[in-house]
Each structure stands twice: as C-alpha cells, then as structure tokens.
Symmetry: C2
C-alpha cells in the first residue's frame, strides 16, 4: 500500500488516485477471498457450538422433508393424494420453526387462514356460478380487489399484526388460489379438500417433530434468558464500581477502546436489547401447551413485565457507567476515600441479583434474606464515609481561588496531575477558553466545515473549564448507586410476583434437600395466584 502510494507521488496525483484505489480495492477483495473459506468454516462451527439445538433442529427439518416427500415418492400414497401432495412439502418448509411455540403459532395461523379463506371462496363461487362467463370474470376480479385490499388493511391493525399476521397472508393466498382456479377448474371442491388434507398432513408432521422429538420451548428460552439477564447485570455493576475505583492507568486506556470488549457494556447490553426477544418469545410461549409437570399456564406476561423492570434497572447502570466516561472526573485520590463502602455496596447488590437469578433458574422463591443485613450495613458505611468528608462537597468560592479544592485534593496522596482533564482545566481558565472558542467560531463562514469539526472539542473544554465542585460527579455516582439499591426493590417485587404466579418452590435453606424433594413437592392449596394473568 505505502509503496504504491510513494511510486505515484509525482504530478497528477488526483487522476492517479482512481487506479490506485481500484488496485487497493482489488487487493482487499483478494485478501478477503483468501480468508473467506476459513472464516466461513469458523462461523459455521461457532453457530453450532453456541447452541447445539440448532444442529438438531436442522436435522429435524431434513427428516420432516424426507418424510413428507414420501407422500409423493411412494406409489400407494401418491395414488391417494395426487400432485397436491406438493402442498404438504410447502407446509413443512414454511411452518416448521425452531421452537414449539413458533411452529404452533404458524401452523394454527396457516390452518385457520386456509379454513376461513376456503369458506369465503365457496361463498363467492356460489354467487359467481349463477352469472355468465364474462360477468363471472369481472365478479372474481372485483372480489379479489376488495378482499385483497381489506385483508392488507387488516394487517395494519396492531392486534392482528401481532397475533395473526401470518394467518391473514395465508388467508389471502388461499382465497386467491381457490377463487382464481375456480374459473377454469370445475371441481374446486376437490382441489380445496385435497389442499386442506395435505396441509393438515404437513402441519401434523411439523407438530409431531416440534412437540415430541427434542422439543425447544419458547417459554423455556425466555425463562433461561431472564435468569441470565440477572447475572449480566450483577457482573456489570461489580465491574463498573471496580473500574471507577481502580487507580490503574491501564483501565483508562481500556475505557477509551471500543465498547465491544467492555465487560460492563456486555453485561447490560443484552438487557437493554432484550425487548423484541422478550416479546416474541412471550407471544410464542402463549401458544405453547402447558408443558410443565404442574400444567400451570405459563406466565409469559409476567416475564415481559419483569423484562421491562429489568430494562429500567439497566438504564440506571448505564447512567452509572456514564460516570466513568464523563468529562468532569472526581480525582482518583478523592474517590479512593469512598472505595471500600462503594465496592462493598456493589458487591451486596450483585449478590442479591445473583440470588434472584438463581431463584428464577431453579424455579424456587428467593431467599427471604435477600436484602441482607450486609446490604444495609454497606449503605450505612457509605453514608458515614460521605458524612465524614463534609468539605469535599464545597467547590472553590471564586474563579481565581483554588485553595479549597487544592487542600481537598492534597489530602489524598496523588494529586490532580494524574487526571488529564483536571490539569487541562487548570491551564485554561473558563473565560479564556470561552474567548478562544468564540474567536474560533467567528473565524468566518468560508471555513465553516473546519469549525464544525473543532467545535465538539471546544465545547468539551468549555465544560471542563467550569469549576464545578469536583466532588459533584462523585455525588452523582453515589446517588446512582443508592438509586440502584432502591430499584432493586422493584425488581424483587416482580420476581416474587412471578414466583407466586408460576408457583415456584418454597425457599429452603438446604438447597440439596429441595433438589431431592422437588419431584414430590406440590404447591400449597392456599397459594392461589393473587393476580389473574389478564384473562
């Protein structure tokens, strides 16, 4: 790359750019092509390793297709169904989904759509047969237009879009097929019958495959995902607080690197992005039969509600994470004073979250000591630590006098030199920064573009040059931490509600005893769900 650019470093550089770019482009493509097979193999391997059920599902689809094609391939069966057997193959391809709930939802939608469309088509056929040939064509055309437009419009209604979108498409498809065919074919009834039977066979094979052979339940996925979310949040909080108090400069470099490998970000990311997965899984789960031992209705609505509460809990963690990346930072020496109580508090919150996650995973009520004394002691300690440093929260009294701040900082061992931003603010007083900023802004409209590029940095200077009490960001951090403890209550409430509705096991101190007793345990008769799940 560099060589090529140097060779062409003579005149006419702009014209030479194009072939160079092309060459570079070709090189890049060439390299990509070389890497492609290796990358593909790795991706294919990883997809299977992440979730081995995917491999099983693929094999299930293969087996179902082979089974259903027997209808066409084996002579005795072909005589029964004829060429319409092809519809069974189509049904299997379209309906067999990864989880039982999704398959049921699609299969029943397909069945319902076909039935409704068939009935309506026959009604229209009944009216149309009484008219002449040309009129009949016009009548069919008008019916297609009217039903097509109505059905499409129906798909925009939120309730139908959510539950029956696929059903409406199939309704439209079948209706059109039957109505149009009826113009040329006489025995439409036979076609419709055969189509219905073969679709039923296809759906039957799909249901057999998805319900009886290594079934994947959407409800189960949602359940495990919910439990995993708690662990992610717990890790996130712990990592966030640890990083805030770490005096390692490496940590700072890590902050600036991409968010992708950040353990804090990874912890809450899944929670923040969980909305659509939660809702889709809950929708499919609502179609699933009561597959658990106790045959309770799967409380999918409560899982969605818990997901919402967890997302809101996650937003507070994002704000806490924001304290690590903000422009105005409390010096590390000041932070160090509050290190122990904060880390202890975050540890207790993380412990509570992990306990909640475990309780959901094991389908038992959470420990009554989940809001442990330790949590409250940690809160008290933080309280005491903050009160023991009253001077911290006083800013410098005027712009020139930095003594108060300086004394506070010198109290800790290392000083403001550690913090790039603090030194910046001491070099540029706010007035000079603002003046600089204004003069650069007024530089002229011809160089607007450069100004636009410069501005963000300038505004950062303007913010850092403000002499907010430097303990203010720490106050925000501490306040958010306390807020997290307060929000933990809401989460616990929802988890308990879930426990009640889903008839979780009672909490037992000795986990192993619970494991053994689980098979015989029944819920107490007075433990009726306090809230009906929105019948």
């Amino acid at each position: 790359m560099v060589v090529e650019m140097e060779v062409n470093n003579g005149e006419n550089t702009t014209n030479n750019w194009v072939p160079i770019m092309k060459k570079l482009h070709m090189n890049v493509i060439g390299e990509k092509m070389k890497k492609f097979p290796k990358l593909t193999c790795r991706t294919i391997w990883r997809v299977g390793k992440e979730d081995p059920r995917r491999v099983i599902h693929s094999l299930k689809v293969g087996i179902s297709l082979t089974l259903v094609s027997l209808l066409y391939l084996m002579d005795p069966l072909f005589k029964g169904f004829g060429s319409n057997a092809i519809w069974a193959v189509m049904t299997v391809v379209v309906v067999l989904e990864f989880t039982a709930g999704a398959t049921l939802c699609k299969g029943l939608n397909r069945g319902l759509g076909t039935l409704l469309a068939g009935s309506l088509a026959f009604l229209i056929e009944y009216v149309a047969t009484k008219t002449g040939h040309v009129f009949r064509a016009i009548f069919i055309g008008a019916a297609l237009f009217f039903i097509g437009a109505t059905a499409t419009y129906m798909r925009f209604i939120p309730y139908i879009k959510k539950n029956y979108d696929y059903g409406v498409v199939i309704f439209l498809l079948t209706f059109n097929l039957i109505t149009v065919s009826s113009y040329r074919v006489d025995n439409v009834l036979k076609i419709a019958h055969e189509r219905f039977y073969t679709i039923a066979i296809g759906c039957g094979i799909c249901l057999l495959m998805c319900l009886l052979i290594f079934p994947n339940w959407s409800g189960e996925d949602l359940h495990n995902f919910t439990a995993a979310k708690f662990e992610g949040l717990a890790k996130s909080i712990e990592a966030c607080v640890n990083e805030y108090f770490s005096d390692d400069e490496q940590q700072k470099a890590k902050e600036n690197s991409s968010d992708l490998e950040d353990p804090i970000y990874n912890g809450y990311k899944t929670v923040l992005d969980s909305k659509s997965f939660d809702e889709t899984s809950a929708l499919y789960a609502s179609w699933e039969p009561r597959h658990s031992r106790h045959c309770y209705r799967f409380p999918w609505q409560q899982y969605v509600k818990l997901g919402n509460v967890l997302r809101h809990f996650g937003y507070t963690i994002v704000a806490l994470h924001g304290c690590l990346q903000t422009e105005i930072q409390t010096p590390r020496s000041v932070r160090a004073m509050f290190k122990d109580p904060c880390i202890r508090l975050s540890g207790e919150v993380a412990k509570a979250l992990k306990e909640l996650g475990d309780s959901i995973r094991n389908r038992r009520h959470c420990s009554p000591e989940i809001l442990s004394d330790h949590l409250h002691e940690a809160l008290q300690d933080l309280n005491k630590a903050i009160k023991s440093q009253p001077k911290l929260f006083i800013g410098s009294k005027n712009n020139t006098n930095k003594l108060t701040l300086a004394t506070v900082i010198s109290k800790g061992q290392s000083c403001a030199l550690n913090s790039r931003r603090v030194s910046l603010s001491s070099v540029k007083t706010d007035t000079s920064a603002l003046l600089d900023w204004k003069s650069k802004l007024r530089g002229g409209s011809s160089t607007t573009h450069e100004n636009l590029k410069l501005r963000p940095t300038l505004s950062k200077i303007a913010i850092t040059s403000l002499e907010f009490s430097e303990a203010l960001p720490f106050a925000a951090f501490a306040s958010l931490l306390v807020e997290i403890v307060a929000r933990l209550d809401l989460v616990i409430e929802e988890v308990e509600e879930l426990g009640r509705i889903a008839h979780f096991e009672e909490y037992n101190d000795d986990e192993h005893v619970v494991e053994i007793d689980r098979k015989n345990s029944r819920p107490l008769p007075n433990q009726l769900p306090t809230q009906d799940s929105g019948d």
Copy 2:
C-alpha cells in the same frame, strides 16, 4: 357484584366462588361483546388516520392482485402460461410489502432463491436420471434431507439470517418442489421455466406498484423517524426539569399515576424502543435505489449509528427521570434555589436538540451556533449557583445531631414537612427501622409469604432512614444535566457526520433563500465523504 357476594356470604363460600366467578366472567364478556363493534370501527379508523399511506397501500395490493389474476382470467393470456399463472398470484401476495425497500428485498430474495434452487435441482435431476426407479427415489429423499438440513442450518448464521433469510426459505421451497415433481413429471424443465416466468411477472407487477405508484421509501421513513426522535428527546428533557422544580403537589400525584400518559416517558420511549425499527428500516433502505435527486447512496449505516448514539443519550434522560421518582428527595425548598439556571440549561439543550432535528428534517447542515453562548452561560450560572451554596452539600455529622441539615432546610421557606419521605425518616431513626425489619424478618418461616410482601417497604424505610446529605440527590440531578450537555457533543458529531455523508445543504441564515436555491444548489467538489460507508 357486591350483592351477589353478600347473598352467598353463608357457609361453603369457597365452593360458591366458582359459579360467581363464572357469572362475573360472563358479564364481562357480554359487556366486551357490546363494545366490540364500536371499538373495532374506531381502531380501523385510527389505523388509517395515523398514516393514510396504509389505505393507499391496501388499494395498491388490491389492484395488483386483480391485474395479476388477469393472467388466469383472460383467455389469450391463459393459453400462454396455463395453470402456472397461479404462481404469479402467490408472488404478489407474498412479495408486495409496504415500503419499496422491503418489496425489493423480498422480490430479489425470491428471484435469487428460485434461480439457485432451479440450478441445483437440475444438477440433482441430471445425476438421478441415470439410476433406476427405486434408487432414484432414495437419491431424491437423501438429497431432500441433506439440502433441507444444510439450508436450515445456514439460516442460523447471523449474516444470512439478517439479509437472506427469506431467500433461503424460497430456495428450499423451490428446490423441494422441482426435485419432488421431477420424480413423476417428465418435462420438469418446462415446469421450472413457467414457474420462473410467472414469478418474474409477479415480481415485475410488485416492483411497478411499489416503485412507481405512490412509492413509500424505507429510507424516507427512517429519515423522518430520526428527526422526530430529536423532538421527543427535547420535550422529555424540558418536561423532566420543569417537573423537578415545580412546587405543585398535583405534579406529584401525576408522577404516581401510570407512565403511559407521562410526557417525559413518551418523549424518550420511542427513542429507547427504536432499535429494531432502525435496523429493519436501514436494511430495507440498503436495497432501495438511489431515489434522491442527487443519486447519492443512502447513508443507512450512519442513521443506525446516530440511532445508537441517541439511545445512549436517552439513557441519561431516563436516569434524570429517575431523580424525580427516587426515594430520597432533596426538599423542594432547596431545589428552588437552583431552579432558574437548571431550567435555562435544559431549555438551551432542548433548543439545540430541536435545531438538530430541524436540520435533519430539512436536509441541511445545522447552525454553526448550535452550541450557543447561551448554553455556556447557562452552564456557568448553574456552576455559580452551586458554588454559592457550599453548606448544602454537608450532611449532618452524626446520627443524633440534625442541626446542620435543619439549618439548611430552614433556609428555604417550607420545610421537611412537605416531603412525606423526610418526615418518615425523622420518625424512624435508622437503627430502630433496622431492628424492626430484622424482627419481622425473623418472624418464622411459616409466614414467609407475608414477609416477602412486607420486605420491599421495609427496605425503602431502611434507605430513607439513612441520613445522606439531602443535597446528594440534587447533586446527582445537576451532574446528570451536565452529563447531558457533554453527550450532546457526541450527538452533534454524528449529525454532522451524517450531513457530510448525505451531502446536506450548507447552513444559511435566511432559511427562505435556501428553500428557493435548493433546486440549483450542488455540493462543492471538495465535500467528498470523509468516511466510506463500509463498502
């Protein structure tokens, strides 16, 4: 309801519950049935009123279906295509989507899938014809299994799932149809040809309808949605800060009511939930032709990036909103001291956000004075206001002595009595609350359920009983407000990047001149995109 319950208030109440519940249930259903037609009509009307393009799209689908059915209904056309004309009808039903991008994506996927499947099926047909009848059936079955399992597994690969999921389904469908049919029918080539032609005709009608007649562009939707997000965020911030400083008790009641009508919540909700819409729209927009006047590539990736930054901006607003709902509140009297600078700052931020939204909506660069002097002045004022109240951030020095706090509060006119929570904390000292909490917790394992219900409230008491400096929550509020200003920079950066990539108009002070000049204006040649949009 009440009457029935009282009548049955004798013995055996538990058994009588069931019929009562059933009656109530029937009544509820009856009422629902009565309301149903009215509700349905209203919903149907609202769906159309919200977005009149939906009505147009429905009519377009109706017209397309009628057009395509002519292939079957009109004698000369039917002679050309025969009964395979039905595939064209199916294609229209399945492919014609609301936006041009979605239709193109599905249409091209369908075309590509059909072509690939056809080629592969002929290869297999070529091998299979050389074997005997029985062997051929086994060979076909094996091919179905192998290709079915492989294609299904492919759908789990993220890249394929995102871009070609529908194409793989159609590939599998067509492959199975041709391969299975080839066992009984001799001229498979003719079937495949006809199927391909009719699908092409169906796709052609769809493209005609979606590209030429009242086209809806996904890119346009994404563009308008992005601009609307800015307005939502601006409203949210203003409403949030106004509510924080309003001394109206009504506001407090509103806080406790459901989140649904809350203007703050509504403002940022769309932004937080925008992820899946953004990504889907961007995906479809990437398939759309360069429909703008200048024929630039639609910078869909930049819109997704901007959406991510806006979501992160939104999280900070959620945290700010959390300050309104938190357990420990700074007394309103104390807050009032900082009312003006905070409201001014939020007003400036909202103004900047609205300007950004306007600039995107009108496809022009944003005003170079977007980070106005006013914003910096407001920041300075807040800074001064906080520094002028140094005592505020000092908590009481020990548990019994509340004098410092009291003096601070008495400084403002109204006192802690206003705040329910503060009075609570003064009634229960933290030690007594903790003791209470412990004794209730230890009450015995038989009443675990009651304990579980009581706990959250107890933990709230434990938190409020902590004597954190009551200015701490305000410090968090102020810090988050400053954080929002800092994050505004990131947003501005992304908007400018978008402006560069999408070749927005230059900013012009006199908006009307720009409007008139727009037709003749061309981007300057040196304004090449600084970043290639991920070729």
